[in-house]
Symmetry: C2
Subunit: 170 residues, 2 copies
Amino acid sequence: MDFKISELQGFTHQIGHLVSQMDYARKTTLDAVKGLTTEELDFLPSEDFNSIGALLLHIAAIEKGFQIEIFDGRTPNQQEMAEWGDPYSLGEKGRQNIKGNSLDFYINKLEEVRQRTLQEFAKLNDKWLYENRLWDNNQSNNYFIWFHVFEDEINHRGQIRLIRKMLSVR
Amino acid sequence: MDFKISELQGFTHQIGHLVSQMDYARKTTLDAVKGLTTEELDFLPSEDFNSIGALLLHIAAIEKGFQIEIFDGRTPNQQEMAEWGDPYSLGEKGRQNIKGNSLDFYINKLEEVRQRTLQEFAKLNDKWLYENRLWDNNQSNNYFIWFHVFEDEINHRGQIRLIRKMLSVR
């Protein structure tokens, strides 16, 4: 694998840069969870924390949420809330409801969601990327939103690495 | 504050994009440690882990290391190794030697190092950013290296948030 931030075939100039950053972030997330069992994915370091499994589904949920907001221009419907509400918000409900899944379950969810992002990106262009958009009531642009998607993933990858370390000192 | 990824005055097109990502990462790091006391910065969740203080100095050390490698084109000298070796490598020596400092100490180190990066970036251009460079024996470019600097920071910011949460449940 080349580790370069650059243009990428199939995308406009700047979207290619964004995708190359998202690709690297995803590679490191998958590396961080390699070989984990269901029991390890469910492990809670303490009762206030999130499991690695919940963090993985959260990463997919954040991306799914921005797909609905930005690509579909709407709020999540009832079915989407039922599937993605808990991993989006984490906390108590996440701890109760996200468990018992294999690593493949989480990886498939991550890939399924990512697939759509890449399909949409392939149809969009750099002009769209710089369009203004509110983010949490702040002036922002589409570029920032999708930067935030992978920077939130990296943030949780850091936590996953730490929780994985805790697994070995249980 | 605007949350945009875009050009930035004082830098060439693409370096501006990089700096706007680095700026956001830094803002969130500083937010994550706001108000921490020396005792909290020294807190070790368990004997195998790093303190928040050590992680902050590590963030500065990684950037310092790439400055020396890329801007100066050399390896660290003895004096630099003495100051930055422990926070760069973390682990046992980091735990022994990085403690007793105030939050201001860490923030000043982060800012001092960042200042030089921005000064160098202001003199460089996008052609330089895309120049090939080996990274850990992989094909890479300068853009990736500096992307890695802020993505490593975000990774540790995630860990800092988790360790800060542990402080409240001690």
